[in-house]
Symmetry: C2
DNA sequence: ACTTTGGTTCACAAATAGGTTAACTTTGTC
DNA sequence: GACAAAGTTAACCTATTTGTGAACCAAAGT
């Protein structure tokens, strides 16, 4: 079980809603989970992050919970606002 | 000079149009260059790739040349159609 | 010179991501 | 319980990506 899976188990325990939504499809949630994990690691609230990105906390929440897809630029700026870097590899 | 840069030099030599467009901004072209490189490596034409993705060759060309941004799902399926895997890391 | 193949670009339509507001829930603290 | 802070969701709107067809160019082969 890797870190992401551990995190998912933890989050399922914390949020019944998440657990239910999660079953609808792993793939579509994977990126949101990754992003939430990154944000929590840094210890920033959705509101704080939203301000750095000149957007609203609701948009952040949507990305972390709902978003079926995301633009590469959004992904990048989200992470950069957390002081992280996005790395893309092709295998 | 890494592989990507080498490839860019090569492509600048082949296409004046590309060379000119490229100067307008590196960042926005980077992903397209990566994708073209991946496709050429496999030896697939834009038309062949388009068919696998149920789209048209013009859409492929746009992604490789013009596209300012791209959805994660598009990136993923493009690469998977080439038999490659997209790997995302956060640093 | 003509045709074919691979690629580029444009214009328009369709689909979808992201901005925004407002109402709501959850969680923690007093 | 009351309150505040953090997060969620829905609705609407706008901006952007992607689908599509057509016209075009360059290179290669006939």
């Amino acid at each position: 079980m890797d870190d992401l899976e551990k995190y998912i188990v933890k989050r399922k325990g914390k949020s019944k809603k998440f657990a239910k939504n999660f079953e609808k499809g792993y793939e579509s949630f994977k990126i949101g989970i990754l992003l939430r994990q990154a944000r929590e690691e840094v210890g920033v609230t959705q509101k704080e992050l939203a301000e750095k990105l000149s957007t609203k906390k609701s948009a952040i929440s949507r990305i972390e919970n709902h978003a079926e897809d995301i633009r590469l630029s959004t992904l990048k700026s989200y992470l950069e606002a957390l002081g992280k870097k996005l790395q893309i590899n092709i295998q």
